[in-house]
C-alpha cells in the first residue's frame, strides 16, 4: 500500500480509463458514476428543500421581517459572490472536459481557478458574517430580555445564517474535494488521467452553485423596493 510502485497496466491502452470489475467499458462505468451522483444530489435537493420550508414559512407569515431586515443584507457583495460562483462553474465544466481529453496542464489550471473562485466566495461570506455579527445581527438571542415580543431581528438572521451557513459548508466540502483532485492530477501523468472523479466532483460543485442561485434572490433581493 505504501510503496509507490508504478501502477501495473491492467487494461488495454485503448481503455486507459481504469475500468473496474462489473463494468464493460469506460463509458458504462462513467454512466454509473453519473447516475450515482445524481441519486446523491436528489437527496441533497431534499435537504435544502427542508431549509426552504423554513424560509417559505417566515416569508409568508412574517413578511414584515423581510421588509425590515432584508435591506441590511449587502446585495452588491452577494452579486459579486454570485458572479464568483458562476465563473467557478464555468471553470469546473472546463476541468471536466480537460480531464476526459487528458490535457493535464489545462486540467490543473481549471481546477486551480475553480478552487480560487470558491475560496474567494468563502472569503466574501466570512467578511459578511463578521460584519453582521459585529452589528449584533446574529441568531444569538439574549434570553434575559429578547424573548417574548415574537419574531424579530434574531429570527430573520437565524434564517439567514442557517441557509447560507449550510450552503457555505457545502462550498467548503467542495473545496476539499477540489484540493484532492489537484493533488491527484499533479501526481498523475496525462495518459493516466481519469475523467470520472473530476466529473463527480464537478456535478457536486454545480449543484452547490444552483442552490446559491435560489438563495441569492430569496434573501438578498427580497423586499428591495420597500
Amino acid at each position: 500500500m505504501s510503496e509507490r510502485a508504478p501502477r501495473p497496466a491492467r487494461i488495454a491502452p485503448a481503455m486507459s480509463e481504469a475500468v473496474r470489475e462489473p463494468f464493460a467499458d469506460p463509458a458504462h462505468q462513467r454512466d454509473a458514476v453519473a447516475l450515482g451522483m445524481w441519486a446523491f444530489l436528489g437527496q441533497e435537493v431534499l435537504f435544502f428543500g427542508v431549509l426552504f420550508v423554513f424560509y417559505t414559512h417566515l416569508r409568508v407569515r412574517h413578511p414584515e421581517l423581510f421588509a425590515a431586515f432584508a435591506p441590511r443584507l449587502d446585495w452588491r457583495l452577494a452579486t459579486a459572490m454570485t458572479v464568483a460562483l458562476l465563473l467557478s462553474s464555468f471553470t469546473m465544466a472546463l476541468a471536466v472536459r480537460f480531464a476526459f481529453v487528458r490535457m493535464r496542464g489545462k486540467l490543473l489550471s481549471s481546477l486551480l481557478a475553480t478552487t480560487a473562485l470558491g475560496a474567494a466566495f468563502l472569503a466574501m461570506k466570512g467578511w459578511e458574517y463578521a460584519h453582521h455579527v459585529a452589528r449584533g445581527e446574529s441568531p444569538i438571542v439574549d434570553l434575559a430580555d429578547e424573548l417574548g415580543p415574537g419574531p424579530g431581528l434574531s429570527t430573520f438572521f437565524g434564517l439567514y445564517f442557517v441557509l447560507t451557513g449550510f450552503h457555505a459548508l457545502h462550498v467548503l466540502g467542495g473545496l476539499v474535494a477540489l484540493g484532492w483532485l489537484v493533488i491527484v492530477a499533479w501526481r498523475t501523468t496525462a495518459e493516466d488521467l481519469r475523467g470520472s472523479p473530476v466529473m463527480a466532483v464537478g456535478l457536486y460543485w454545480h449543484f452547490v452553485d444552483i442552490v446559491w442561485l435560489f438563495l441569492f434572490p430569496a434573501l438578498y433581493l427580497a423586499g428591495r423596493p420597500a
Binding site: L35, W38, T56, F90
Partner: protein
Amino acid sequence: MNHRDGSSPAPSVGAALVVLSALLILTATTVGLAFLELPPAVHVGLALTIAAIKAALVAAVFMHLLREAPATRLVALMAAVLLAIFMLMVTVDVRHLGG
C-alpha cells in the same frame, strides 16, 4: 455529441462560454428587476422563474444532463418535480391552512 467515443461529456469551451454569458445576463436581469415597483407576488414569481432558468442551464449544459442516459435524466427530473410538489403543498399549507 457522443461521449461514448471516449471524448468529454462536458461542453466545449465555446458552448460553456455561451452558457456563462447567459447566466451573467440573467443575474443582471434579476438584480435589476428587484428594484422595480411591482406587487410582491410578481417579484417572487419573476425571481423564482429566472433562478429556475439559470438552474436548468447549469444542469443541462455544465452538468451535461442533456447527454446523460435516460435513467439518469429521469432521476434528476424526479428530484425537481418532487421538490416542486413539496414546496407547492407547503406554500398552500402556510398561506391558507394555518400550517
